[in-house]
Protein backbone atom coordinates (compact mmCIF):
# COMPACT_ATOMS: atom_id res chain seq x y z
CA UNK A 1 0.00 0.00 0.00
CA UNK A 2 2.62 2.50 1.17
CA UNK A 3 5.14 1.26 -1.40
CA UNK A 4 2.53 1.50 -4.13
CA UNK A 5 1.77 5.06 -3.08
CA UNK A 6 5.45 5.99 -3.10
CA UNK A 7 5.91 4.50 -6.54
CA UNK A 8 2.89 6.44 -7.77
CA UNK A 9 4.25 9.68 -6.32
CA UNK A 10 7.66 9.01 -7.88
CA UNK A 11 6.01 8.42 -11.24
CA UNK A 12 4.06 11.68 -10.93
CA UNK A 13 7.23 13.54 -10.00
CA UNK A 14 9.09 12.04 -12.96
CA UNK A 15 6.32 13.09 -15.34
CA UNK A 16 6.25 16.58 -13.85
CA UNK A 17 9.99 17.02 -14.32
CA UNK A 18 9.91 15.61 -17.82
CA UNK A 19 7.03 17.85 -18.91
CA UNK A 20 8.62 20.94 -17.38
CA UNK A 21 11.86 20.31 -19.25
CA UNK A 22 9.92 19.62 -22.43
CA UNK A 23 8.10 22.89 -22.06
CA UNK A 24 11.36 24.79 -21.73
CA UNK A 25 12.55 23.12 -24.88
CA UNK A 26 9.25 23.91 -26.64
CA UNK A 27 9.52 27.59 -25.83
CA UNK A 28 13.05 27.62 -27.19
CA UNK A 29 11.96 25.68 -30.26
CA UNK A 30 9.10 28.07 -30.88
CA UNK A 31 11.41 31.07 -30.79
CA UNK A 32 13.87 29.40 -33.12
CA UNK A 33 11.18 28.15 -35.53
CA UNK A 34 9.44 31.50 -35.65
CA UNK A 35 12.74 33.25 -36.20
CA UNK A 36 13.67 31.02 -39.10
CA UNK A 37 10.23 31.42 -40.64
CA UNK A 38 10.81 35.15 -40.59
CA UNK A 39 14.40 34.80 -41.86
CA UNK A 40 15.92 35.77 -38.52
CA UNK A 41 18.23 33.86 -36.24
CA UNK A 42 16.27 34.08 -32.98
CA UNK A 43 18.13 33.83 -29.67
CA UNK A 44 21.86 33.44 -30.32
CA UNK A 45 23.73 34.97 -27.38
CA UNK A 46 23.33 32.63 -24.40
CA UNK A 47 24.95 29.27 -25.06
CA UNK A 48 25.35 27.58 -28.41
CA UNK A 49 22.74 29.05 -30.77
CA UNK A 50 20.96 30.44 -27.74
CA UNK A 51 20.52 26.99 -26.22
CA UNK A 52 20.69 28.28 -22.67
CA UNK A 53 18.39 31.23 -23.36
CA UNK A 54 15.36 29.55 -21.82
CA UNK A 55 17.15 28.81 -18.57
CA UNK A 56 18.15 32.44 -18.33
CA UNK A 57 14.57 33.51 -19.14
CA UNK A 58 13.11 31.18 -16.54
CA UNK A 59 15.39 32.50 -13.82
CA UNK A 60 14.50 36.04 -14.83
CA UNK A 61 10.76 35.32 -14.78
CA UNK A 62 10.91 33.63 -11.38
CA UNK A 63 12.95 36.42 -9.82
CA UNK A 64 10.79 39.26 -11.14
CA UNK A 65 8.66 41.20 -8.73
CA UNK A 66 5.23 39.65 -8.38
CA UNK A 67 2.81 42.56 -8.51
CA UNK A 68 -0.77 42.27 -7.27
CA UNK A 69 -2.74 45.31 -8.42
CA UNK A 70 -4.77 47.19 -5.81
CA UNK A 71 -8.35 46.64 -6.94
CA UNK A 72 -8.24 42.98 -7.90
CA UNK A 73 -10.18 40.19 -6.27
CA UNK A 74 -7.11 38.97 -4.41
CA UNK A 75 -8.11 35.38 -3.67
CA UNK A 76 -9.30 34.60 -7.18
CA UNK A 77 -6.37 36.49 -8.67
CA UNK A 78 -4.05 34.23 -6.69
CA UNK A 79 -5.83 30.94 -7.44
CA UNK A 80 -6.36 31.37 -11.19
CA UNK A 81 -2.76 30.78 -12.38
CA UNK A 82 -2.35 27.84 -10.01
CA UNK A 83 -5.54 26.24 -11.30
CA UNK A 84 -4.43 26.81 -14.88
CA UNK A 85 -1.06 25.21 -14.18
CA UNK A 86 -2.46 22.24 -12.26
CA UNK A 87 -5.20 21.48 -14.76
CA UNK A 88 -2.65 21.49 -17.57
CA UNK A 89 -0.59 18.87 -15.74
CA UNK A 90 -3.55 16.71 -14.67
CA UNK A 91 -3.87 15.21 -18.14
CA UNK A 92 -0.50 13.47 -17.72
CA UNK A 93 -1.90 11.25 -14.99
CA UNK A 94 -3.20 8.94 -17.67
CA UNK A 95 -1.36 9.87 -20.86
CA UNK A 96 0.73 6.84 -21.89
CA UNK A 97 4.18 7.47 -23.33
CA UNK A 98 4.62 3.76 -23.95
CA UNK A 99 2.82 0.65 -22.63
CA UNK A 100 4.99 0.79 -19.52
CA UNK A 101 5.51 4.50 -19.05
CA UNK A 102 2.13 5.67 -17.78
CA UNK A 103 1.29 6.96 -14.32
CA UNK A 104 -2.14 5.39 -14.03
CA UNK A 105 -3.88 3.56 -16.83
CA UNK A 106 -7.49 4.67 -16.53
CA UNK A 107 -10.31 2.82 -18.22
CA UNK A 108 -11.85 6.11 -19.28
CA UNK A 109 -8.55 7.81 -20.03
CA UNK A 110 -9.72 9.77 -23.05
CA UNK A 111 -12.81 11.17 -21.31
CA UNK A 112 -10.70 12.02 -18.28
CA UNK A 113 -8.31 14.07 -20.39
CA UNK A 114 -11.19 15.88 -22.09
CA UNK A 115 -12.65 16.53 -18.64
CA UNK A 116 -9.58 17.98 -17.00
CA UNK A 117 -8.78 20.17 -19.98
CA UNK A 118 -12.15 21.82 -19.47
CA UNK A 119 -10.84 23.06 -16.11
CA UNK A 120 -8.51 25.39 -17.98
CA UNK A 121 -11.51 27.44 -19.11
CA UNK A 122 -12.35 28.21 -15.51
CA UNK A 123 -8.89 29.50 -14.75
CA UNK A 124 -8.94 31.82 -17.75
CA UNK A 125 -12.34 33.12 -16.66
CA UNK A 126 -11.18 33.63 -13.09
CA UNK A 127 -8.07 35.43 -14.27
CA UNK A 128 -10.02 37.69 -16.61
CA UNK A 129 -12.59 38.50 -13.95
CA UNK A 130 -10.32 38.94 -10.97
CA UNK A 131 -7.98 41.32 -12.79
CA UNK A 132 -10.71 43.97 -12.76
CA UNK A 133 -9.47 45.25 -16.09
CA UNK A 134 -11.64 45.58 -19.16
CA UNK A 135 -9.06 44.12 -21.52
CA UNK A 136 -8.52 41.16 -19.24
CA UNK A 137 -12.28 40.64 -18.96
CA UNK A 138 -12.73 40.84 -22.72
CA UNK A 139 -9.89 38.39 -23.21
CA UNK A 140 -11.46 36.07 -20.67
CA UNK A 141 -14.84 36.27 -22.38
CA UNK A 142 -13.36 35.61 -25.77
CA UNK A 143 -11.25 32.70 -24.65
CA UNK A 144 -14.17 31.06 -22.91
CA UNK A 145 -16.48 31.52 -25.88
CA UNK A 146 -13.81 30.10 -28.13
CA UNK A 147 -12.85 27.16 -25.97
CA UNK A 148 -16.43 26.03 -25.29
CA UNK A 149 -17.32 26.32 -28.96
CA UNK A 150 -14.33 24.38 -30.19
CA UNK A 151 -14.77 21.69 -27.59
CA UNK A 152 -17.76 20.36 -29.55
CA UNK A 153 -15.98 19.63 -32.85
CA UNK A 154 -13.01 18.38 -30.82
CA UNK A 155 -15.06 15.74 -29.04
CA UNK A 156 -17.00 14.86 -32.20
CA UNK A 157 -13.80 14.35 -34.16
CA UNK A 158 -12.44 12.03 -31.47
CA UNK A 159 -15.57 9.89 -31.21
CA UNK A 160 -15.05 7.87 -34.45
CA UNK A 161 -11.67 6.76 -33.10
CA UNK A 162 -13.36 5.60 -29.91
CA UNK A 163 -15.95 3.71 -31.94
CA UNK A 164 -13.30 1.99 -34.04
CA UNK A 165 -11.15 1.04 -31.08
CA UNK A 166 -14.18 0.15 -28.99
CA UNK A 167 -12.62 1.63 -25.88
CA UNK A 168 -11.87 4.83 -24.05
CA UNK A 169 -8.64 3.42 -22.67
CA UNK A 170 -5.74 5.15 -24.39
CA UNK A 171 -3.51 2.06 -24.36
CA UNK A 172 -6.24 -0.04 -25.97
CA UNK A 173 -6.77 2.66 -28.57
CA UNK A 174 -3.10 2.57 -29.50
CA UNK A 175 -3.08 -1.21 -29.64
CA UNK A 176 -6.09 -1.14 -31.97
CA UNK A 177 -3.87 0.67 -34.47
CA UNK A 178 -1.36 -2.15 -34.76
CA UNK A 179 -2.02 -2.80 -38.44
CA UNK A 180 -2.83 0.70 -39.59
CA UNK A 181 -2.94 4.03 -37.79
CA UNK A 182 -6.32 5.70 -37.64
CA UNK A 183 -5.11 8.71 -39.60
CA UNK A 184 -5.39 6.59 -42.77
CA UNK A 185 -9.05 5.77 -42.09
CA UNK A 186 -9.89 9.08 -40.44
CA UNK A 187 -7.97 11.74 -42.36
CA UNK A 188 -10.81 14.25 -41.98
CA UNK A 189 -11.15 13.42 -38.31
CA UNK A 190 -7.45 14.07 -37.80
CA UNK A 191 -7.59 17.46 -39.52
CA UNK A 192 -10.68 18.44 -37.57
CA UNK A 193 -9.05 17.34 -34.33
CA UNK A 194 -5.88 19.27 -34.99
CA UNK A 195 -7.78 22.44 -35.94
CA UNK A 196 -10.12 22.29 -32.98
CA UNK A 197 -7.30 21.38 -30.63
CA UNK A 198 -5.20 24.30 -31.82
CA UNK A 199 -8.14 26.54 -30.98
CA UNK A 200 -8.55 24.83 -27.60
CA UNK A 201 -4.95 25.57 -26.76
CA UNK A 202 -5.26 29.18 -27.93
CA UNK A 203 -2.71 28.69 -30.66
CA UNK A 204 -2.55 31.07 -33.60
CA UNK A 205 -4.39 31.50 -35.94
CA UNK A 206 -6.97 31.04 -33.16
CA UNK A 207 -5.19 33.09 -30.50
CA UNK A 208 -7.90 35.73 -30.18
CA UNK A 209 -7.96 35.45 -26.34
CA UNK A 210 -4.42 36.70 -26.10
CA UNK A 211 -4.21 38.84 -29.18
CA UNK A 212 -1.31 41.05 -28.14
CA UNK A 213 -2.11 43.76 -30.64
CA UNK A 214 -5.79 44.24 -29.84
CA UNK A 215 -6.26 43.06 -26.27
CA UNK A 216 -2.76 43.68 -24.87
CA UNK A 217 -2.50 39.91 -24.30
CA UNK A 218 -6.00 39.37 -22.91
CA UNK A 219 -6.73 37.63 -19.65
CA UNK A 220 -3.17 37.68 -18.32
CA UNK A 221 -2.51 41.39 -18.81
CA UNK A 222 -2.39 42.16 -15.07
CA UNK A 223 -0.17 39.23 -14.21
CA UNK A 224 3.55 39.42 -13.70
CA UNK A 225 6.43 37.37 -12.39
CA UNK A 226 5.81 33.80 -11.38
CA UNK A 227 2.03 33.96 -11.88
CA UNK A 228 2.48 35.07 -15.48
CA UNK A 229 5.01 32.32 -16.06
CA UNK A 230 2.46 29.79 -14.79
CA UNK A 231 -0.02 30.83 -17.48
CA UNK A 232 2.72 30.84 -20.04
CA UNK A 233 4.01 27.38 -19.14
CA UNK A 234 0.49 25.95 -18.93
CA UNK A 235 -0.08 27.04 -22.49
CA UNK A 236 2.91 25.09 -23.74
CA UNK A 237 1.98 22.10 -21.59
CA UNK A 238 -1.44 22.18 -23.24
CA UNK A 239 0.15 22.29 -26.66
CA UNK A 240 2.21 19.22 -25.82
CA UNK A 241 -0.92 17.50 -24.45
CA UNK A 242 -2.97 18.00 -27.61
CA UNK A 243 -0.10 16.80 -29.79
CA UNK A 244 0.45 13.76 -27.60
CA UNK A 245 -3.25 12.98 -27.71
CA UNK A 246 -3.26 13.36 -31.50
CA UNK A 247 -0.30 10.97 -31.74
CA UNK A 248 -2.09 8.45 -29.55
CA UNK A 249 -5.46 8.71 -31.24
CA UNK A 250 -4.46 9.01 -34.88
CA UNK A 251 -0.79 8.23 -35.45
CA UNK A 252 -0.53 4.92 -33.64
CA UNK A 253 1.15 6.21 -30.50
CA UNK A 254 4.41 4.48 -29.70
CA UNK A 255 4.18 1.90 -32.45
CA UNK A 256 6.92 1.84 -35.05
CA UNK A 257 9.78 -0.35 -36.21
CA UNK A 258 13.28 -0.71 -34.70
CA UNK A 259 13.41 2.28 -32.34
CA UNK A 260 12.11 1.89 -28.76
CA UNK A 261 8.45 2.87 -28.21
CA UNK A 262 9.10 6.06 -26.26
CA UNK A 263 11.34 7.43 -28.97
CA UNK A 264 8.70 6.77 -31.62
CA UNK A 265 6.10 8.46 -29.48
CA UNK A 266 8.23 11.54 -28.93
CA UNK A 267 9.14 11.73 -32.62
CA UNK A 268 5.46 11.76 -33.55
CA UNK A 269 4.58 14.33 -30.90
CA UNK A 270 7.39 16.67 -31.85
CA UNK A 271 6.45 16.37 -35.50
CA UNK A 272 2.93 17.53 -34.64
CA UNK A 273 4.31 20.30 -32.43
CA UNK A 274 6.35 21.49 -35.38
CA UNK A 275 3.25 21.45 -37.57
CA UNK A 276 1.40 23.62 -35.05
CA UNK A 277 4.29 26.08 -34.93
CA UNK A 278 4.43 26.11 -38.69
CA UNK A 279 0.73 26.95 -38.85
CA UNK A 280 1.13 29.64 -36.21
CA UNK A 281 3.81 31.50 -38.09
CA UNK A 282 2.17 31.10 -41.50
CA UNK A 283 -1.46 32.12 -41.05
CA UNK A 284 -2.75 35.49 -39.87
CA UNK A 285 -5.06 35.67 -36.87
CA UNK A 286 -8.79 35.23 -37.42
CA UNK A 287 -11.24 37.89 -36.32
CA UNK A 288 -13.56 36.90 -33.48
CA UNK A 289 -16.66 36.66 -35.68
CA UNK A 290 -14.77 34.68 -38.32
CA UNK A 291 -13.51 32.42 -35.57
CA UNK A 292 -17.00 31.66 -34.33
CA UNK A 293 -18.60 31.17 -37.72
CA UNK A 294 -15.68 28.94 -38.74
CA UNK A 295 -16.39 26.72 -35.76
CA UNK A 296 -20.17 26.59 -36.02
CA UNK A 297 -20.62 26.68 -39.79
CA UNK A 298 -17.66 24.65 -41.06
CA UNK A 299 -16.01 22.54 -38.36
CA UNK A 300 -19.18 21.38 -36.62
CA UNK A 301 -21.08 20.16 -39.73
CA UNK A 302 -17.93 18.47 -41.02
CA UNK A 303 -17.35 16.75 -37.69
CA UNK A 304 -20.97 15.61 -37.54
CA UNK A 305 -20.83 14.26 -41.09
CA UNK A 306 -17.57 12.47 -40.33
CA UNK A 307 -19.10 10.99 -37.21
CA UNK A 308 -22.21 9.83 -39.06
CA UNK A 309 -20.28 8.29 -41.97
CA UNK A 310 -17.86 6.48 -39.64
CA UNK A 311 -20.76 5.11 -37.64
CA UNK A 312 -22.58 3.91 -40.74
CA UNK A 313 -19.42 2.35 -42.10
CA UNK A 314 -18.76 0.55 -38.84
CA UNK A 315 -22.30 -0.80 -38.71
CA UNK A 316 -22.43 -1.92 -42.34
CA UNK A 317 -18.91 -3.36 -42.42
Amino acid sequence: MIIGLIILLLKIAAVLVFISLTVLFLVYAERKVSAHFQVRYGPMRVGWHGGLQMIADTIKLLLKEDITPKDVDKLVFFIAPILCFVSAYLAYLTLPFSPQIVVKNLNIGLLYILGVTSLTVLSLMMAGWASNNKYALLGGFRSVAQIISYEIPLVLSVLPVVMMAGSLNLITIVEAQKSLPFILVQPLGFLLYLTAAAAEANRAPFDIPEAEQELVAGYNVEYSGIKFSMFFLAEYVNMFTICALAAILFLGGWQGPILPPVIWFLIKVYLLVFVLMWVRWTFPRLRIDQLMSFCWKILLPLALANFLISGLWLVLK
Binding site: D71, D73, L75, V76, I79, L106, N107, I108, L111, Y112, L114, G115, V116, S118, L119, V121, L122, M125, M126, W129, A130, N132, L137, G140, F141, V144, I148, E151, L168
Partner: protein, 157 residues
Amino acid sequence: MIFYFLAVTLILSAILVVTLKNIFHCALFLIVAILAIAGLYFHLQAPFLGVVQLIIYIGAIMVLILFAIMLTSRISDRLLQTASRQSIPALLAVIVFILLALKSLDKTPLPAHIGKNFDPILDLGRALMTAYVLPFEVVSLLLLVALVGAIALARKD
Protein backbone atom coordinates in the same frame (compact mmCIF):
# COMPACT_ATOMS: atom_id res chain seq x y z
CA MET B 1 -10.85 8.22 4.86
CA ILE B 2 -11.09 9.68 1.37
CA PHE B 3 -14.85 9.61 1.73
CA TYR B 4 -14.85 11.73 4.88
CA PHE B 5 -12.43 14.21 3.35
CA LEU B 6 -14.69 14.58 0.31
CA ALA B 7 -17.82 14.77 2.46
CA VAL B 8 -16.43 17.54 4.67
CA THR B 9 -15.22 19.48 1.64
CA LEU B 10 -18.60 19.07 0.02
CA ILE B 11 -20.61 20.24 3.03
CA LEU B 12 -18.34 23.19 3.81
CA SER B 13 -18.25 24.45 0.24
CA ALA B 14 -22.01 23.95 -0.13
CA ILE B 15 -22.60 26.05 2.99
CA LEU B 16 -20.34 28.76 1.58
CA VAL B 17 -22.27 28.64 -1.72
CA VAL B 18 -25.51 29.57 -0.01
CA THR B 19 -24.13 32.04 2.53
CA LEU B 20 -21.29 34.04 0.97
CA LYS B 21 -22.09 37.60 -0.07
CA ASN B 22 -19.94 37.79 -3.20
CA ILE B 23 -21.77 35.83 -5.86
CA PHE B 24 -18.65 35.17 -7.91
CA HIS B 25 -17.07 33.47 -4.90
CA CYS B 26 -20.30 31.49 -4.43
CA ALA B 27 -19.92 30.14 -7.95
CA LEU B 28 -16.30 29.20 -7.30
CA PHE B 29 -17.28 27.28 -4.18
CA LEU B 30 -20.04 25.58 -6.14
CA ILE B 31 -17.26 24.38 -8.43
CA VAL B 32 -15.41 22.96 -5.42
CA ALA B 33 -18.60 21.21 -4.33
CA ILE B 34 -19.08 19.74 -7.79
CA LEU B 35 -15.49 18.52 -7.85
CA ALA B 36 -16.07 16.83 -4.48
CA ILE B 37 -19.16 15.12 -5.87
CA ALA B 38 -17.18 13.96 -8.90
CA GLY B 39 -14.70 12.48 -6.42
CA LEU B 40 -17.56 10.73 -4.62
CA TYR B 41 -18.70 9.20 -7.92
CA PHE B 42 -15.23 7.76 -8.38
CA HIS B 43 -15.45 6.49 -4.82
CA LEU B 44 -18.78 4.80 -5.67
CA GLN B 45 -17.17 3.05 -8.65
CA ALA B 46 -18.98 5.17 -11.19
CA PRO B 47 -15.97 6.74 -12.95
CA PHE B 48 -17.99 7.57 -16.03
CA LEU B 49 -20.36 9.70 -13.97
CA GLY B 50 -17.39 11.42 -12.34
CA VAL B 51 -15.94 12.42 -15.67
CA VAL B 52 -19.32 13.43 -17.07
CA GLN B 53 -19.77 15.56 -13.96
CA LEU B 54 -16.44 17.24 -14.75
CA ILE B 55 -17.21 17.79 -18.41
CA ILE B 56 -20.84 18.88 -18.20
CA TYR B 57 -21.10 20.56 -14.81
CA ILE B 58 -17.75 22.29 -14.76
CA GLY B 59 -17.03 22.56 -18.47
CA ALA B 60 -20.51 23.74 -19.42
CA ILE B 61 -22.95 24.63 -16.64
CA MET B 62 -20.55 26.41 -14.31
CA VAL B 63 -18.94 28.25 -17.18
CA LEU B 64 -22.40 29.43 -18.22
CA ILE B 65 -23.20 30.54 -14.68
CA LEU B 66 -19.90 32.42 -14.39
CA PHE B 67 -20.62 33.99 -17.75
CA ALA B 68 -24.02 35.12 -16.56
CA ILE B 69 -22.52 36.57 -13.38
CA MET B 70 -19.93 38.47 -15.40
CA LEU B 71 -22.59 39.80 -17.76
CA THR B 72 -24.90 40.96 -14.98
CA SER B 73 -22.54 42.49 -12.45
CA ARG B 74 -19.28 44.31 -12.07
CA ILE B 75 -16.53 43.49 -9.62
CA SER B 76 -17.10 46.51 -7.37
CA ASP B 77 -20.81 46.50 -7.93
CA ARG B 78 -23.65 46.52 -5.48
CA LEU B 79 -25.28 43.72 -7.46
CA LEU B 80 -22.38 41.43 -6.69
CA GLN B 81 -23.24 41.62 -3.02
CA THR B 82 -26.24 39.39 -2.94
CA ALA B 83 -28.31 39.62 0.20
CA SER B 84 -30.36 36.93 1.89
CA ARG B 85 -33.86 37.24 3.24
CA GLN B 86 -35.80 35.38 5.91
CA SER B 87 -32.80 33.29 6.88
CA ILE B 88 -34.12 32.13 10.23
CA PRO B 89 -37.51 30.77 9.08
CA ALA B 90 -35.79 29.09 6.14
CA LEU B 91 -33.19 27.56 8.44
CA LEU B 92 -35.91 26.24 10.74
CA ALA B 93 -37.84 24.78 7.81
CA VAL B 94 -34.74 23.08 6.45
CA ILE B 95 -33.82 21.63 9.82
CA VAL B 96 -37.34 20.26 10.29
CA PHE B 97 -37.20 18.77 6.80
CA ILE B 98 -33.86 17.10 7.47
CA LEU B 99 -35.04 15.71 10.79
CA LEU B 100 -38.19 14.30 9.24
CA ALA B 101 -36.22 12.72 6.42
CA LEU B 102 -33.73 11.25 8.90
CA LYS B 103 -36.61 9.81 10.93
CA SER B 104 -38.14 8.17 7.87
CA LEU B 105 -34.70 6.96 6.82
CA ASP B 106 -34.38 5.37 10.21
CA LYS B 107 -37.70 3.56 9.76
CA THR B 108 -36.97 2.29 6.25
CA PRO B 109 -34.98 -0.93 5.96
CA LEU B 110 -32.16 -0.36 3.50
CA PRO B 111 -31.24 -3.21 1.16
CA ALA B 112 -27.90 -4.80 1.94
CA HIS B 113 -24.97 -4.24 -0.37
CA ILE B 114 -24.99 -6.73 -3.24
CA GLY B 115 -21.42 -7.55 -4.11
CA LYS B 116 -22.08 -8.22 -7.79
CA ASN B 117 -19.63 -6.33 -9.93
CA PHE B 118 -20.40 -4.72 -13.23
CA ASP B 119 -18.34 -2.91 -15.80
CA PRO B 120 -19.50 0.67 -15.24
CA ILE B 121 -18.86 1.86 -18.79
CA LEU B 122 -19.87 -1.16 -20.85
CA ASP B 123 -23.07 -1.80 -18.90
CA LEU B 124 -23.97 1.85 -18.89
CA GLY B 125 -23.63 2.01 -22.67
CA ARG B 126 -25.70 -1.16 -23.07
CA ALA B 127 -28.44 0.15 -20.77
CA LEU B 128 -28.59 3.47 -22.62
CA MET B 129 -28.90 1.72 -25.97
CA THR B 130 -31.38 -0.99 -24.99
CA ALA B 131 -33.68 -0.53 -21.99
CA TYR B 132 -33.39 3.25 -21.88
CA VAL B 133 -33.23 4.08 -25.55
CA LEU B 134 -36.54 5.96 -25.59
CA PRO B 135 -35.73 8.20 -22.59
CA PHE B 136 -32.32 8.73 -24.16
CA GLU B 137 -33.92 10.08 -27.32
CA VAL B 138 -36.32 12.20 -25.28
CA VAL B 139 -33.37 13.74 -23.44
CA SER B 140 -31.69 14.57 -26.73
CA LEU B 141 -34.91 16.23 -27.85
CA LEU B 142 -35.00 18.16 -24.57
CA LEU B 143 -31.46 19.39 -25.15
CA LEU B 144 -32.35 20.46 -28.68
CA VAL B 145 -35.39 22.36 -27.42
CA ALA B 146 -33.29 24.00 -24.73
CA LEU B 147 -30.73 25.02 -27.35
CA VAL B 148 -33.32 26.58 -29.63
CA GLY B 149 -35.14 28.14 -26.69
CA ALA B 150 -32.00 29.71 -25.26
CA ILE B 151 -31.07 31.22 -28.61
CA ALA B 152 -34.60 32.54 -29.10
CA LEU B 153 -34.63 34.04 -25.59
CA ALA B 154 -31.22 35.60 -25.59
CA ARG B 155 -31.31 36.99 -29.11
CA LYS B 156 -31.47 40.73 -29.47
CA ASP B 157 -34.31 41.63 -31.79
